[in-house]
């Protein structure tokens, strides 16, 4: 997606007034593009009159920001304490071994980004895997494996259909 100044301004105009709103502005950019494209940060820097080192300092400090494009599917594994004692670590290990998914990383094919979240406030149904925004509770290594396999399958069959 090409990033234009107008597009970014559209995100900021109602909310962002001065440099105190920098994080708010960056959150809006992150939400729109799913990452922080350099062109958008350029515009934010000019618009708020904030130097870029400060922007990149913030981008690397807060976990929500990503300086690289994220995957087509966002998987968030809750690693809160309740999920941990119910076996979330086993799921994380299995996803790493079986599918090469690492926390904070996007797979080489650009299909998945796995994120670690610390408590989503739904501990009763832990462990929780959020698949593209949808909470999936009482997760097991087998179910996580099945979900990833299904998404991969859909991708290959979808590509086949397009070709």
């Amino acid at each position: 997606m090409a990033v234009t100044d107008q597009q970014v301004e559209e995100l900021l105009k109602d909310w962002v007034h001065d440099s105190e709103d920098l994080i708010t502005a960056m959150l809006a950019v992150q939400e729109k593009y799913n990452w922080l494209p350099p062109e958008a940060l350029d515009y934010v820097s000019r618009r708020l009159n904030v130097r870029k080192p400060r922007i990149y300092h913030i981008a690397t400090f807060y976990k929500v920001f990503s300086l690289v494009p994220r995957g087509k599917h966002i998987l968030q594994l809750c690693m809160g304490t309740a999920c941990h004692v119910r076996g979330a670590k086993l799921i994380a290990d299995a996803m790493a071994r079986q599918h090469g998914l690492q926390f904070g990383k996007t797979t080489d094919d650009g299909l998945f980004t796995l994120e670690r979240v610390n408590c989503l406030g739904a501990c009763a149904i832990g462990p929780i895997l959020v698949v593209d925004g949808e909470y999936k509770g009482n997760m097991t290594t087998n179910r996580a494996n099945a979900i990833i396999k299904r998404l991969k399958r859909e991708e290959t069959s979808g590509e086949g259909g397009n070709a």
């Binding site: 105190e20 920098l22 690693m79 304490t81 290990d93 501990c123």
Partner: protein, 636 residues
């Protein structure tokens, strides 16, 4: 909607809202909390809305969290006063027909305790609810969090009207007399804090609500913001009046988009009604609240880091030789309290300091909200009087340990708290007792652990969490935690040395003594408290290479009990590394006996999850397949 301008008008408007509510003979309240939503409350809401379309006699509420997450989605029907649990969209027509139209109770949707156990219909009878005393959460299942009229119908904003007729000094005195202590973790005296902020030198004063609830396994504040956002707004405006606040902020955690939405809507309504803005209720008070969102950094729950983040900077704490009440946001006097503390304020003004002090203990009055989670039967959100024992919380309200297993420990206070053993179960829960026991109240996360939890693994988990979340500004926290984690990893891998425990304690003491902010000071607590109470588990890892909870993967091995296996082969199908093979000539009911090759097995637990016979056993210390095969009888 014309603005409400006087206390008299508040009263009149409340009456109008109440009679509007009373016009509905029947109320259906569907829990719309995070857990219930994840279990299908959305589909359920659609089913109710369809079924009740055009029905003027029923008020259908999508409410905040009712608390009993374990058996969600929850539906309460009033005045029948019946709680339905684990409701599915298919049940909705029957509920509408039988319970709403014919006042009948549907037996199969009621809560049952234990297998074929006692049936409970009313909220007040269910053990999970019966032993609670709800103040802050009292309105959660009664009101629509998106309706300010519902809040007003239950007396909302009375406290504000009342406070604005008192002098700021009188309001301050009421809060001080109540001995309200900060619910965010520290337990600092709110009255004293308000007073210090009020008298601090400075042009402008800021009122801030900390909703950066970062402790993993804790969702109290989320549920208050989602379920009753106006109570927090009301508390903050009262605070602004007492302290002389010029503007307000709420710092909401990024992981709580639903709380953000509910609170944002409440702010809009409060402005429309004149509870925020200029000359609130003709008192001369001008005050508004701005929402600021976090970026997923645990350290931003620390006051000085939170203020930097509000200013649009990186959230790094600073040394606290100057208190934030004197120099906080923009280096100006700032009063920071957390969500639950603010939500208590209207109740104190309405009912008085003496009433507040009549619940709880002398030094920790009032109630506290906890999220009771982990290996407990009844997971959920609870509000109990301070001074209640851990045993009452875990066994009477929580229903004991899941699956009838044995209790091992309870973790309170999140990454800043500690693990308490069975011998601490009769301790009364208040700020000071928990601190003396080596843990802390914290914001209210309570994670129950059973015999299949490893306390060393949990200590390692919190330490690694804190390494991830440490801002890196000061050395003791940044480096000290790394070294503690290194030792913990070594211990859980079976490479621990006898002197490791002494080293951990020494390092932990140094981190606690020398770190800059509260995060670092309390960071060693999970490790130090678990060494204090569970030294034998550490020693089992170090000396015997045995993990008593059978968790640490380097110290365990998976096997199939030949006496239990029916040969169904389900395990073999799910094993990702083909470690499971049939054993020739060993016929069982459904096929050949299976065996796990311990050399190939990656200990992912996939087989254990699916085995219908619970035939998969975990041994610690780890043994070879041959050893298990030859010694299975003794090992059993």
């Amino acid at each position: 909607m014309p603005k409400i301008e006087t206390a008299e008008q508040v009263k009149r408007f409340q009456e109008r809202c109440k009679s509007a509510l009373d016009r509905f003979p029947i109320v259906v309240s569907l829990c719309n909390g995070t857990a219930c939503c994840a279990m299908g409350a959305k589909e359920l809401a659609a089913a109710f809305e369809k079924e009740l379309a055009g029905d003027e006699s029923v008020k259908f509420i999508k409410s905040g969290c009712h608390g009993f997450c374990e058996v969600g989605p929850l539906v309460v029907v009033r005045p029948l006063d019946v709680v339905y649990q684990r409701v599915k969209p298919d049940d909705v027509p029957e509920i509408v027909d039988r319970s709403l139209r014919h006042n009948e109770v549907i037996d199969r949707l009621l809560y049952r305790f234990g297998d074929g156990g006692k049936v409970f219909a009313k909220e007040g009878e269910i053990p999970f609810y019966r032993n609670q005393s709800k103040v802050v959460l009292a309105l959660n299942s009664l009101i629509d969090p998106y309706s300010i009229d519902d809040y007003l119908a239950y007396g909302g904003y009375s406290a504000l009207a009342r406070a604005l007729e008192m002098t700021p000094d009188a309001v301050l005195k009421e809060i001080a007399d109540a001995n309200l202590r900060g619910r965010g973790g520290g337990g600092f005296d709110a009255g004293r804090k308000w007073n210090s902020c009020r008298t601090a030198a400075g042009e402008r004063r800021h009122i801030v609500c900390n909703a950066d609830e970062g402790d993993p396994g804790a969702f109290m504040d989320e549920s208050i913001l989602e379920g009753n956002p106006h109570s927090v707004i009301e508390g903050m405006v009262i605070g602004a009046w007492a302290i002389g606040g010029d503007d307000g902020f709420i710092y909401i955690r990024n992981e709580y988009p639903r709380a953000l939405k509910a609170f944002g809507n409440a702010l809009k309504q409060a402005r429309e009604y004149g509870f925020l803005g200029e000359n609130i209720l003709s008192s001369g008070l001008d005050f508004d609240i701005k929402v600021s969102r976090g970026g997923g950094a645990f350290v931003c729950g620390e006051s000085s880091a939170l203020f930097r983040s509000l200013e649009g900077e990186v959230g790094e704490p600073r040394a606290k030789y100057v208190h934030s009440v004197e120099r906080g946001y923009r280096d100006e006097p700032t009063n920071l309290n957390n969500v639950e503390t603010w939500a208590n304020v209207p109740h104190i003004i309405n009912r008085g300091a003496e009433w507040f002090r009549s619940t709880g203990t002398k030094d920790s009055p009032g109630t506290k909200v906890f999220s009771l989670v982990g290996k407990v039967e009844n997971t959920g959100l609870i509000e109990v009087p301070m001074g209640i024992t851990l045993r009452e919380i875990i066994f009477d309200i929580g229903g004991g340990i899941k699956g009838g297993k044995n209790f091992k420990a309870v973790q309170t206070g999140g990454p800043s708290g500690g693990c308490l053993p069975a011998s601490s179960l009769d301790l009364p829960v208040d700020f000071d007792v928990l601190t003396r026991a080596g843990s802390m109240m914290g914001s209210g996360g309570m994670i129950v652990m059973d015999e299949e939890t490893c306390v060393v693994d949990v200590a390692k988990y919190f330490t690694d969490f804190l390494i991830e979340e440490s801002c890196g500004k000061c050395l003791p926290c940044r480096e000290g935690l790394m070294h503690m984690s290194g030792i913990l990893h070594r211990i859980t891998e079976g490479k621990g040395k006898p002197e490791d425990l002494r080293r951990l304690v020494k390092l932990g003491d140094a981190v606690a003594a020398a770190s800059l902010c509260g995060l670092g000071v309390s960071a060693p607590n999970p490790v130090l408290s678990s060494i204090r109470y569970f030294e034998d588990e550490y020693l089992a890892h170090i000396n015997e290479h045995r993990c008593p909870g059978s968790v640490c993967s380097a110290l365990i091995s998976y096997h199939i009990d030949p006496a239990m296996c029916t040969g169904c082969g389900t395990c073999e199908k799910v094993c990702p590394v083909d470690a499971i093979k049939p054993v020739p000539d060993e016929e069982r009911k459904d096929g050949l006996l299976r065996e796990i090759d311990a050399d190939v097995c990656e200990k992912c637990s996939a087989c254990k999850e699916v085995c219908p016979e619970e035939a998969i056993v975990v041994e610690s210390p780890a043994v070879t397949t041959e050893h298990y095969r030859e010694n299975v009888t003794e090992m059993r």
